[in-house]
């Protein structure tokens, strides 16, 4: 399938070039985000009746993992409100043309942190406390507020969106999985970028700001670190930036060789499997251990959680590819072949989320009418009874998703194996085994 240049359509191009549509969405999102913080802190402690839990962990999560990431990649990052206050503070403006003089420290992020290891750690920190986070409104409120303040703090110290690029626990996996999405922002003609003076897309100009994501669009070959903020469309003096529709997982044809990204794939794959077992399984002991943070059972849970992600899953993967005769270092083969786990991990999350979201979606209507759990009935839906949705088609849908994921992963494994010139069979067998375990956990 050839690429379709969406920005050839004047309506789409103008909508992306203008700051106002994006600003309008940003403001709605920011208001919703701040309301979620307040609801978490002052609303009812009953999670299933509190806006912060219901709208963040059911509604937003469903949109993010079932729609936004698979179809729009970093589409969520394009409208995420978390970096806004910090960015406005950093720029000293909301819409005004940029002032060349930095308002704050404007430091460059140290080289040792210019990877996604911090995002891996921040995700794992939240993941270890997720049973509390997902169910306790004030903890959700505190975490949402902490993310907002961390983004503001980092914006005053470092240049551009340091929080989004290097620390956001959500941004890390969105970036990884955005490689599978059928949408991309790319340049039209490389030669135009080579000869372009001043590189305003990266350095900024009177037309707009330099790339907030610290990416030079002229060198973009993957979606991973492009936040789709559309700033480069506004600053490019040569109209050389396009937003394209493309086949799914186009970025995965050239596998990454970075260990931080490889481990992100294992972290996400393992977390989906652990959540499927702990949260959706029938084992009360596991739920107790995951929920009672600080207890000895929780420490055992945390150790097992980390062991599965950092030892067991990558360990068996390494054993599988150990015997593939090749001159390339094992580390490089490991990183390249783990690309096959990206579509697998994304679809594991889709399968897990289908179960979680369809079971709990009916809480959304009640929380909409009574977001703080104070007895309001704003839209007449406050008394909507809890009712799981589509439970009869859930298992076939999950099978379809997971088998589809396995096929997708096997084909990606073949492409990655071709690149590093090894057999794809061990990776395909590995994917089959983890998919069978996921099927067992969910069905």
């Amino acid at each position: 399938m050839a690429k379709i240049v969406l920005t050839r359509n004047p309506f789409i191009k103008n909508a992306l070039k203008s700051r106002y549509p994006q600003l309008a969405v940003f403001i709605v999102m920011l208001v919703g985000y701040i309301f979620a913080i307040l609801a978490g802190l002052i609303g009812t402690p009953v999670g299933s009746h509190n806006f912060s839990i219901v709208f963040v962990w059911i509604a937003w999560w469903a949109i993010l993992i079932l729609v936004a990431v698979p179809f729009f990649g970093r589409g969520w990052c394009a409208v995420c409100p978390i970096p806004l206050p910090g960015e406005w503070l950093q720029r000293g403006a909301i819409l005004a043309p940029p002032d060349k003089k930095p308002k704050w420290l404007n430091l460059r992020v140290p080289k040792m942190f210019r990877n996604i290891w911090l995002q891996n750690i921040s995700f794992l920190l939240l993941a270890l406390f997720s049973s509390v986070l997902l169910t306790t409104p004030n903890i959700t409120g505190i975490v949402l507020a902490a993310m907002l303040f961390a983004a503001i703090g980092l914006s005053t110290v470092f240049e551009r969106r340091a929080f989004c690029r290097y620390l956001c626990p959500v941004g890390g996996f969105i970036g990884l999985y955005s490689q599978t999405a059928p949408i991309e922002l790319r340049i039209k003609d490389k030669q135009v970028c080579v000869t372009c003076e001043g590189k305003p897309c990266y350095n900024g100009s009177s037309a707009g700001y330099g790339c907030p994501w610290d990416v030079f669009p002229g060198g973009l070959t993957k979606n991973t670190y492009c936040g789709l903020c559309m700033e480069c469309i506004r600053t490019c003096p040569h109209d050389n930036i396009a937003v394209n529709l493309r086949p799914f997982s186009a970025d995965l044809a050239k596998p990454s060789t970075r260990m931080d990204e490889a481990f992100k794939a294992f972290i996400m794959l393992g977390s989906a499997m652990i959540y499927a077992g702990v949260l959706l399984g029938p084992w009360g002991t596991l739920k107790d251990a995951a929920y009672n943070v600080g207890s000895s059972a929780w420490f055992v849970y945390a150790i097992i959680f980390l062991a599965i992600i950092f030892v067991i899953l990558p360990g068996f993967f390494t054993l599988g590819i150990l015997n593939t005769k090749n001159v390339l270092p094992l580390k490089q083969r490991f990183a390249s072949l783990s690309t096959a786990l990206i579509p697998l991990g994304l679809m594991f999350w889709v399968a897990f989320s289908l179960s979680f979201v369809l079971t709990n979606a009916s809480y959304i209507l009640a929380a909409l009418s009574d977001p703080l759990g104070l007895g309001w009935n704003l839209f007449g839906t406050a008394t909507t009874a809890w009712q799981p949705m589509l439970t009869t088609v859930l298992a076939p849908a999950q099978t379809l998703v997971l088998v589809g994921a396995l096929i997708w992963s096997a084909r990606t494994a073949q492409k990655a194996a071709n690149e590093v010139k090894v057999s794809s069979i061990p990776v395909i067998v590995y994917s089959l085994i983890v998919t069978s375990i996921m099927l067992w956990l969910l069905l």
Partner: protein
């Protein structure tokens, strides 16, 4: 064999694995009674096994706050007050594996208070793994054909 024909063959084989009825040995329906203790946030026992056609009686005893028990797929439920026993009787007419879950908000982990009812063997799981295996064989063969 053309790639399209191979694909068609594998899709058909997948449909056979997924949906062709299996012979079920005749087992006379029985009456089964389970006493389930519900406490924050688990059921004990949390897994029930019955045969298709059995008449199942669940006696739900809550050990702390009000708990409920809703059976996915059967769309039936009961609620039990603390210290009280509530009884639910139904015929396990649908085979398969079904989650049962608390349907009364009972605390923080309420959405994850889940148990499992197995009516007969969990054939859908085995069929799904079979389809997954078939898919892997299909992809591997198609890749070999290409190379």
């Amino acid at each position: 064999m053309t790639p399209r024909f191979s694909l068609l063959l594998f899709v058909m084989a997948g449909l056979v694995v997924a949906f062709v009825p299996l012979p079920v040995p005749p087992i006379a329906p029985q009456e089964r009674t389970f006493r389930i203790e519900a406490g924050q946030f688990a059921y004990s026992p949390s897994e029930l096994k019955v045969n298709p056609g059995d008449t199942v009686t669940i006696q739900l005893v809550s050990t702390d706050v009000v708990h409920g028990l809703y059976v996915d797929g059967y769309d039936i439920s009961i609620e039990a007050d603390p210290g009280q026993t509530a009884t639910l009787t139904f015929t396990a007419g649908k085979a398969g594996s079904f989650r049962f879950r608390c349907n009364v908000t009972c605390g923080a982990m309420h959405p994850f208070m889940i148990g499992k009812l197995n009516v007969g063997s969990n054939n859908w799981l085995y069929r799904s793994i079979g389809v997954a295996l078939l898919a892997v064989v299909g992809v591997t063969l198609s890749l070999k054909q290409k190379t």
